[in-house]
């Protein structure tokens, strides 16, 4: 490895400096979340106390009011329905394409892949106004259906790109052997490729779910009241007559928790999907 462990004082000092850099960065990552978690348990007076309070009587009413008075549960449910169904649709449509593109590499398919990549990279804002106009025309603004369609389309390139890299990793001898035995491409896809690539499917599913769950711009423009997702719902807690910061902090914590759970328990899948997309792209 690079770190040659010479025992001079200078190298101790250098290591010490490096460890403290990592420590400072970790503090920067953790501190805001820790602070908001504290805030979500404080009432108005405790929240604005100067110097800040670290030991106080926790005030759980923030969470109660968030769900009972503000109806945050409905927003969460909307988010879950929309993110789940769009991820499933995306995988169903995208995986066969990814398989076909991974098995059949020629100039046309290279072009298709680059097109897929570019349509993924274009910022959502450039699509929002045409979508808004067309969705208003068909009266599907503020429906779950509208957002599910939108997210399925915009996650499709991601699914194709990620699944293709997972299908490329499959042992080609197995697939060739099945072909020689007379299996059709559909059979190879369904009976061999899908089971073998299932870890990849899981990690692609998680990534598309997270992307749909976190999406902001389309949800902002294409929802009004009925299909509002949690990302927009939490913003609606900011009110002209004064914001309940404790409630907002509670909402933030509710939305950060899934992120932390994903990060700690299934980060392996997530990182694997992300890096295989980025480094092979």
């Amino acid at each position: 490895m690079i770190g040659v462990q010479s025992k001079s004082t200078a190298s101790y000092l250098f290591n010490y400096l490096n460890y403290s850099l990592i420590f400072i960065y970790l503090l920067f990552v953790i501190f805001p979340i820790f602070w908001i978690a504290l805030l979500s348990l404080k009432n108005e007076v405790q929240a604005f106390a100067n110097p800040p309070l670290f030991i106080f009587k926790p005030y759980f009413l923030n969470y109660y009011n968030l769900f009972v008075e503000e109806g945050f549960g409905k927003y969460l449910l909307n988010s879950i329905i929309i993110a789940t169904s769009s991820s499933i649709i995306c995988l169903l449509i995208g995986a066969p394409t990814a398989f076909a593109l991974s098995r059949n590499q020629n100039k046309v398919n290279q072009g298709i892949l680059i097109w897929v990549l570019i349509s993924r990279m274009a910022p959502a804002m450039t699509y929002v106004i045409p979508f808004f106009v067309v969705f208003s025309y068909f009266k599907i603004i503020d429906t779950h259906f509208g957002l599910v369609i939108t997210y399925s389309v915009f996650n499709l390139p991601l699914v194709i790109w990620l699944m293709r890299s997972f299908f490329l990793e499959l042992p080609s001898e197995t697939l060739e052997a099945a072909k020689i035995d007379g299996a059709s491409t559909f059979q190879i896809f369904r009976k061999i490729a899908i089971p073998l690539a299932s870890p990849g499917i899981v990690s692609t599913g998680i990534i598309t779910f997270v992307v749909a769950w976190n999406e902001f711009i389309f949800a902002l423009v294409l929802t009004r009241r009925h299909a509002v997702t949690a990302q927009i719902g939490i913003g609606n807690l900011q009110k002209f007559e004064g914001t309940e910061w404790g409630q907002m902090a509670a909402g933030a914590i509710v939305l950060i928790l899934p992120a932390m759970i994903i990060a700690i328990f299934i980060s392996k899948y997530f990182v694997q999907g992300l890096t295989s997309g980025a480094t092979k792209g």
């Binding site: 699509y127 106009v133 950060i256």
Partner: protein
Amino acid sequence: MFSEKNEFRILSFPSLIILGLLTVFPIIFLFVLSFTSWSILIPNSFQFTFNNYFERMINDSKFIHTIKVTFYYIIVNTFFQMVIGFAIAFLLFRFTKLKFLRPIIIIPMLVPPAVVGLMWKMMFIPNLGGIDYYLGLFNIPAIDWLSNPTTALIAITIASVWEWTPFVIIVILAGLDSLPKSPIESAVIDGANTFHIIFYIIIPLLKPIILVVILLRIIESLAILPIVFMMTGGGPALATEAINLYAFHVGLEYLDIGYAASILVAFIFILLIFSTPIILSSLKKDTK
């Protein structure tokens, strides 16, 4: 049954049709809209006037301002994300004992952008967020970060560095892990120090990955919206409003669709100006 080629076609048909309809069509529609004088507030205004929106844009001081803000985000946000991300990735690579920290480091990336914006908004509110209190310990006077144009920009940069540095770290780390060990080992034997190894071996070897990461960061910084929307809403007095948010305000709040569409066409051109050189240089690498 089908020939193999047709089977591939059937498998890829649905998504290519959907992608074609829903990605190419909106962009064409956007260009068409940019030639109309359509405003939803004015009845019967959907007419092809071939309005000279270009002239209007050049004379629109707000638009020029939002371009400057966008360039600030592209350059400053991307720079800090890359530098901090590379440094931390290198340190984590070097100290293999710290592998257990990786899951913690990716948390910010998974937090919804809207929540990142609200979270940092709360952090910067005097007394509520405590940042002023801790700066006060170092005798830095308390200021209302989000209501001063300069500090509001800095606050947004801090939030975006918090959110996106993990992405840089994760991808660079994956690149570092896949590097061949022998050039580094022989350089160590030849007596190269850490800085030589970073600048003469690791960076050249990682160049393709670094370029991709920079490209993705630039696009993301260009399209920065949720953080700004939640933290400042573009204020104080447009100080933090990027071109993206301006198009949103013009098109979906003042409902001046025609003008908003032409702003977005300009936006696409800015995107191409920044991304084409990087795409070209990474393609060149491939053909070698």
